[in-house]
Amino acid sequence: MSPSELSLLPKLFWVVVSVVGAIAYGLVIGGIIRKVMARIQGRIGPPVYQPYLDLFKVIFQRTATWHGYMFYLGPVFRAAGAIGLFLLIPVVFGDPRFDNFSFNGDLLMVMYFMFFGCLGMALGAAEGGHPHSVVAITRGLSQMTAYELPFSLAVVAIAAQTGSFSVHQIVAAQQGGVGHWFLFTNPLAAVAAFLAFLGMNMYSPFDIVLAPQEIPIGPPTEYNSAFMSAMMSGRAIFGVAKCVLYMDLFLGGATTILAAIVKVFFIYFWSIFVGAVFPRFRTEQAVRFFLGWPTAAGVAAVLAVMLF
């Protein structure tokens, strides 16, 4: 089966289903993470469905502030970026329903969308005028530029290895057993990418954007009500999308929904595993970190592909 086998309307239907499913799953992951975090902290923690309660609560709230259109477009940009990212990556390899709009060279588009959401958020939050937002955005952009480097290097290495910038083909190249996964065939790229993932997912020690103790929550400081809910669902789908991307790039994609769900969870959990036990880096420390070992690994990965 290939993507062209479905006509437009059914395709749209399945796109909506997968987006909604991704949001739902993203929220569930959020709930599980909170529960796990609570357990390591010695607490019972909130119920797994707590993010749903939070989401519905904020949806039904009203706002009483006005910071200009750009401010309110921030979360929209972010959600749009997340959805765009998600729609470009095949979730279930070989299933036309969950193949989304994968096409040749989509990996470049994916990289762009990853940046797009954050930029949109940055523009919107800056419009709010709250110094905490501004500080958070400068920190976030610095960190993002820093982790983009090892990530890009890893992607380049993998693209070079596959000879294609299509996620679809990258996944296809990994079929045929665990041993074909790039995680194992290109461990250096995997190290670079998974270290970069820590920064991408913004858990400790790289949660310098939200940093509650320093610049309380940063950009979301001023957001409330439905905008908050847009941010929350954007964050949920963004989290899932990133994990799906990593799954496609390094873990051989998924051929069933169940495999996708499991793999996404473990990729997500990686950032929690590290994040739960470390304090936060300062901005320049984080930048220096990404430009250190991860970048070296990325460069090594690219060189390795080039040389061998």
Binding site: Q41, G42, R43, V134, P212, I215, V277, F278, R280, F281
Partner: protein, 375 residues
């Protein structure tokens, strides 16, 4: 012109009063240049309840539920200071029974333990570490459980009173306390791993927030802050009160004077408090009164006099300057808390050049308790 341009580069940020990183209900107005703070001003007044003035309008006995509110995490030092000052002025100190003195020492040490646990958690928490602070709060809660059964209250104990303490130790208290101490001790290695053994914590804490040694006496720094400079200054040793002279302990000092050293002092003082509590419980008299026979507290008058008493709180030296005028009410109380020095003079001097991310850890390491500033 240049200055204006310099200024225009700065972003003004209010740190508090509603801020998860602040150590209480105060705020620091800061100016940010990039990621670096150029200066800061401590603002207080957000919870000003005029404790000192309130006491001038209260009977002596009515003042005693007030003082514990001057420091929430560690109320007992305040209770003890007021009690001992008034005992000294009224001559009641000669009648404080032996057992009361032991119980008071126990309570003071328990409160130090609780406060230290909390503040060490704060050290890590202010840097965004999740687990350790939560464990510390949980461990502190175990201490609060003991406080609850001993004093009838968890946070505001209102237990040390003129002439002694308000109630005797409950049945089987020593055993339960020992159990609590064991639980706390069993958790300490893990806490060491997560805080002091953490690469990120070390990176963040070492060499940050260094207080120059020459400021120590110039500014009247005390407590863990001065001990982290390697200066063994501790009121419990320098001027022993209650039963501290009879207890066996050494003053904890560390070198480096940075956030890490201060955290380390606190870490070691947790162990010290645990040891002291064990010593106290072992030597506590079994029998005897726990409070002197009090005069009618509604009509108690104290002769004209003034005194200054001091004690070592978890934050540093606390002192009460108390003046009585022979009436039923205090003439004047002045609370000398370490937080004024640490939270206003020292903090404002340390802020320029500090990274914004380090402000919260810095404040925690100085252990500022805002009600002490705005008594």
């Amino acid at each position: 012109m240049t200055e204006t341009r310099e200024r225009s580069k700065e972003v003004q940020i209010w740190f508090g009063p509603q801020h998860p990183g602040i150590t209480g209900n105060m705020s620091v107005q800061t100016w940010l240049d990039g990621d670096t703070l150029t200066r800061g001003i401590t603002h207080v007044g957000y919870l000003h309840r005029a404790f000192e003035k309130l006491m001038e309008r209260r009977l002596y006995i009515q003042s005693f539920p007030i003082v514990c509110r001057i420091c929430v995490p560690e109320p007992d030092t305040n209770e003890w200071l007021l009690a001992s000052a008034l005992e000294e002025l009224s001559g009641l100190d000669r009648e404080v029974p032996e057992k009361a003195r032991w119980i008071r020492t126990l309570v003071l040490e328990m409160s130090r333990l609780g406060a230290m646990l909390m503040v060490l958690g704060g050290h890590a928490g202010s840097m965004g570490l999740g687990p350790a602070p939560q464990w510390m709060i949980a461990l502190r809660d175990l201490v609060l459980d003991r406080f609850e059964e001993l004093t009838g209250g968890r946070v505001y104990h209102m237990y040390i009173v003129y002439g002694g303490v308000r109630r005797d130790l409950p049945e089987g208290f020593a055993e339960r306390m020992e159990q609590t101490l064991k639980t706390i001790e069993s958790k300490l290695p893990l806490i060491d791993d997560v805080i002091f053994g953490s690469a990120v914590f070390r990176k963040r804490a070492m060499g940050v927030g260094v207080v120059p040694r020459e400021w120590a006496f110039e500014m009247g720094i005390s407590g863990p802050v001065i001990r982290a400079m390697g200066i063994p200054k501790d009121v419990r040793k320098d001027e022993p009160y209650e039963k501290y002279a009879e207890l066996d302990f050494d003053v904890v000092t560390e070198e480096g004077s940075d956030i890490f050293a201060r955290a380390m002092v606190r870490r070691r003082e947790i162990q010290q408090s645990i040891d002291l509590i064990r010593q106290i419980l072992a030597r506590m008299p079994k029998e005897g009164p726990y409070c002197a026979e009090l005069p009618n507290m509604l009509e108690w008058t104290i002769p004209v006099g003034q005194t200054y008493v001091r004690a070592e709180s978890s934050r540093g030296e606390m002192g009460y300057y108390v003046v009585t005028d022979g009436s039923k009410k205090l003439r004047r109380v002045h609370v000398r808390g370490p937080s004024y020095v640490h939270g206003v003079s020292l903090l404002e001097r340390l802020i320029p050049g500090t990274n914004i991310a380090d402000l919260a850890p810095l404040m925690v390491s100085l252990q500022v308790c805002p009600p002490e500033i705005e008594r």
